[in-house]
């Protein structure tokens, strides 16, 4: 006899319009046997009635459609961010509001280290919030002169190091002429490093090696803990190199009977041809398991807006910076799209600037004429600056979009003031336009760029509040029910997983976010404060408190 458990709850938000709210859900073999009243579910026969969630609210487990497993790895370094942030073990690290506070926390970590040669590494520094005061090598020397120290910025594109680290890299000298390495009054580098060309050679001395984006086993396990704490049961790794060793490690970790999240890693289109990438994706698809959904591709069209490397249409950057960089040529994307459509492999494409979005639309259109595919769900990731006409084209091409709602909070003020100026800042991450146009939409955190937390992401899309407290773009707000849809079924749809996850209904995975408060009852501005008890994933219960 197969075991059936019926959970009672204060309220179950199903995201199934036929019965939006129910009181009970029956689980068998890790799947939803049924949702409804106890009487409606009892007809399935023998069962255990489990009342542990009687005072909780259940939702479909959240689906994070754009994150990086690297978040798990970074927590082994010292957190130096401006905002409070929860680590995998449930400790909330207070945000640091001055350089002095950053140095103080580094000193605390330094005295606890035994090996005097071991590098001290920190992450998530963001001088934008520290009055744009730059950290210097001398600042970090005050933590230690003998130990190499490196702090990665929140953007991931800048790093600060101390004199010892520069010395180890052979750069404690004058006469260096490189745009990515500013010099101090003494002619020696200040220790601030911009871009991978400068970060890679110094980074190896401060604990940031070249494979940082590939999470290791420990990192992936810690990442799983963060999922439980934020109500996430399905999460992407967007993107990874997915070489054999990495895949093996991911299969091992996600195959652990107590691993709490379904991971969807996308193969990065970089360093191999379109044909090879599609072939690799097909190979990986064969290796996919329920808990590791391999077989998708991510392409990158341009850079980032705050890094001025996104490709912008006229009139370009507000501060006059020259246009950004292409990471992939249209010809290469065209080849990839055609090959992937033929092979039935899904492609997600990173675009930040509106010119990059335009290029993707111009490229996918002809590819679809050659290789028609009625349900491709090719998705634009970030797509932060798309305007209404571009959303109409996405609709016409049956594309999906995953908008970077969190960005609006963390860098919205910068975009208004500096990068794109007021008008375009108002339309960034245009959730309202996407939904009104009928483009299937998800919203995301891009963790570790911003913290993982779908309820926070939903809050960001509902309120469009910036870090300084301004509301930016009233006209692009969405309502709570739409935001909850975006972090469940919406994201599941962009991954072709809406038949399995994203709502609580018969046949789907028994994946639930277990909440202390009811997100449909709180005010929109309190959505981010809804407390998460833990999750149920594939019928297995994970309490955040027990991790």
């Amino acid at each position: 006899m197969t075991l059936t458990t019926i959970y009672s709850a204060k309220k179950i938000i199903t995201m199934n319009p036929i019965q939006p709210y129910v009181s009970h859900v029956a689980v068998r073999e890790g799947r939803v046997l049924g949702a409804g009243s106890l009487a409606e579910l009892e007809v399935w026969g023998e069962h255990i009635l489990d009342n542990r969630f009687a005072e909780k609210v259940l939702m479909p487990g959240f689906v994070e459609g754009h994150a990086h497993t690297m978040e798990g790895t970074l927590w082994r370094y010292v957190y130096c961010g401006f905002f409070d942030r929860l680590d995998p073990n449930g400790k909330s690290w207070a945000g640091l509001t001055s350089i002095e506070a950053v140095l103080e926390r580094l000193k605390e970590a330094e005295v606890k280290m035994d090996n005097p040669d071991e590098p001290l590494s920190g992450w998530s520094l963001d001088p934008i919030y520290l009055n744009n005061k730059r950290v210097t090598r001398q600042d970090l020397d005050s933590v230690s002169k003998s130990r190499p120290i490196g702090i990665l910025h929140a953007s991931g594109h800048i790093m600060n190091v101390n004199s010892k680290a520069l010395e180890m890299a052979g750069l404690m000298k004058t006469g260096i002429n490189h745009p990515g390495m500013p010099l101090g009054a003494d002619g020696i580098p200040t220790g601030e490093l911009y871009g991978p060309e400068t970060m890679t050679p110094v980074g190896v001395h401060v604990g940031f090696n070249r494979s940082l984006t590939d999470s290791d086993e420990q990192g992936l396990r810690d990442f799983g803990k963060l999922c439980v704490r934020t109500g996430v049961t399905t999460i992407t790794d967007l993107a990874a190199r997915l070489e054999d060793d990495g895949v093996k490690a991911m299969l091992k970790v996600t195959g652990d009977p107590r691993y709490p999240a379904r991971v969807v890693p996308l193969k990065l289109f970089m360093g191999s041809t379109a044909k090879e990438t599609v072939e690799r994706a097909l190979e990986l698809k064969d290796k996919a398991t329920d808990m590791l959904r391999l077989g998708r591709i991510k392409a990158v069209a341009d850079g980032s807006i705050q890094g001025f490397s996104a490709r912008m249409r006229w009139p370009g950057y507000h501060n006059g910076a020259s246009n950004g960089l292409w990471y992939t040529a249209p010809e290469q994307l065209a080849e990839l799209y055609r090959a992937a459509l033929k092979a039935d492999i899904q492609v997600h494409t990173h675009t930040n600037g509106d010119e990059a979005t335009e290029m993707v639309l111009d490229t996918l259109g002809p590819a679809l004429k050659d290789v028609p595919h009625p349900d491709h769900r090719f998705t634009l990731q970030h797509c932060q600056l798309a305007d209404a006409a571009q959303f109409r084209r996405m609709k016409a091409l049956s594309m999906c979009v995953n908008l970077f709602a969190n960005h609006h909070f963390y860098w919205g003020d910068e975009h208004y003031r500096l990068t794109v100026g007021p008008e375009r800042a108002l339309r960034m991450n245009a959730c309202r336009t996407a939904l009104n146009t009928g483009v299937p939409m998800a919203i995301h955190s891009d963790a570790p760029v911003t913290p993982l937390g779908p309820l926070f992401t939903a809050w960001a899309a509902v309120n469009r509040t910036t870090a300084s407290g301004r509301t930016q773009g009233d006209g692009e707000k969405i309502i709570v029910s739409e935001a909850l849809q975006a972090i469940t079924l919406g994201a599941a749809y962009t991954l072709h997983l809406d038949d399995e996850v994203g709502s609580i209904e018969v046949g789907k995975k028994a994946d639930f976010a277990v909440l202390e408060d009811d997100p449909t009852e709180v005010n929109g501005e309190d959505l981010k404060d809804v407390r998460v008890w833990g999750t149920v994933q594939g019928g297995r219960v994970f309490a955040a408190a027990d991790l």
Binding site: E197, R210, G271, S272, W326, A329, P330, M359
Partner: protein, 292 residues
């Protein structure tokens, strides 16, 4: 220091063909080629000795490696290769901005830049530069060039060729424009490691618009001033390389590629003499001798 030549240019300009041409004519020079990715036809099959996921071994001690997204790391691997390569050639992706690659050599003490060579497709480059998306990338690449290989000249009329040359010079008046068909150029144009190896360096010179002269300074020279003068665009020089004796008696190595020049002090007692490579109808021994 290992010289590094960066080869760029938009997709389809002939970069891969050039790389194969150089590997085929390496004549004992151990070339290490770094490519962004192994395309379907990255290296001509008859040149390949063995191939693994990211290294292809080529007859004559050359190798070709794919660097994916981490060029700095790949160069680090080159530096510790045993024996080290004589010359590294980086084949950029079609959208890369070559100057940013050259800039990053600052952090790699084992390498020095041997200039940027940009291929331009005589048939399409002017049109590509007007492309809605890629236009500014194409012009930025051309602006970065020390040497432009105007390739596929056999496919266009005299009139188009002239117009394209004029246009290129308008984009970058300092670059030396060398014409080619199917990327066939004297290897010495692309890689200064060929200078001084007459048999290897002289290949394909006869059939080209280029000529090679050897200058021998009589007595002491101001090396910096000479290098700067050689780099002037009026000299018609594409490259120059060799040793001179400075007024204080020290030996210096002069290396010129297009407008770039570099003078380094050397400890060994090398015989004075500069190999100069330039356009047949422009360079003359008399004119160059005057610079000394």
């Amino acid at each position: 220091m290992i010289p590094v030549t960066v080869v760029g240019g938009y997709l389809g300009a002939g970069k891969t063909t050039l790389v194969n041409h150089l590997l085929r004519n390496a004549n004992g020079i151990r070339l290490a080629v770094l490519v962004n990715e192994f395309g379907e036809l990255a290296i001509d099959e008859d040149l390949i000795e063995t191939q693994s996921d990211d290294v292809i071994s080529i007859a004559g001690g050359c190798v070709c490696c794919s660097f994916g997204s981490d060029l700095t790391a790949a160069l680090g691997d080159m530096a510790i290769m045993s024996p080290p390569p004589d010359h590294v050639l980086i084949e950029c992706s079609g959208v890369a901005i070559p100057s940013s690659i050259v800039n990053s050599l600052v952090f790699l003490p084992s390498f020095r830049s041997d200039g940027i060579v940009i291929l331009a497709d005589a048939e399409t480059v002017v049109q590509s530069a007007k492309d809605k998306y890629m236009g500014d990338t194409v012009t930025r690449q051309i602006a970065d060039a020390d040497i432009i290989l105007l390739n596929k000249v056999d496919l266009v009329s005299e009139v188009t060729l002239h117009a394209t040359r004029t246009w290129l010079i308008g984009q970058n008046r300092y670059a030396r424009v060398v014409e080619s068909t199917q990327s066939v150029v004297p290897p010495v144009i692309v890689l200064d490691s060929f200078v001084g190896r007459v048999r290897a360096g002289g290949q394909h010179l006869e059939a080209s618009h280029l000529d090679m002269l050897t200058l021998t300074p009589k007595g002491f020279v101001d090396a910096d001033k000479l290098a700067q003068a050689l780099a002037d665009e009026d000299t018609g020089l594409v490259r120059a390389k060799g040793f001179v004796t400075r007024h204080d008696g020290t030996k210096a190595l002069i290396q010129v590629v297009g407008r770039r020049w570099d003078v380094t002090e050397v400890a060994e007692n090398k015989a004075d003499g500069l190999v100069c490579l330039g356009f047949k109808n422009v360079i003359s021994r008399a004119m160059l001798q005057k610079l000394i």
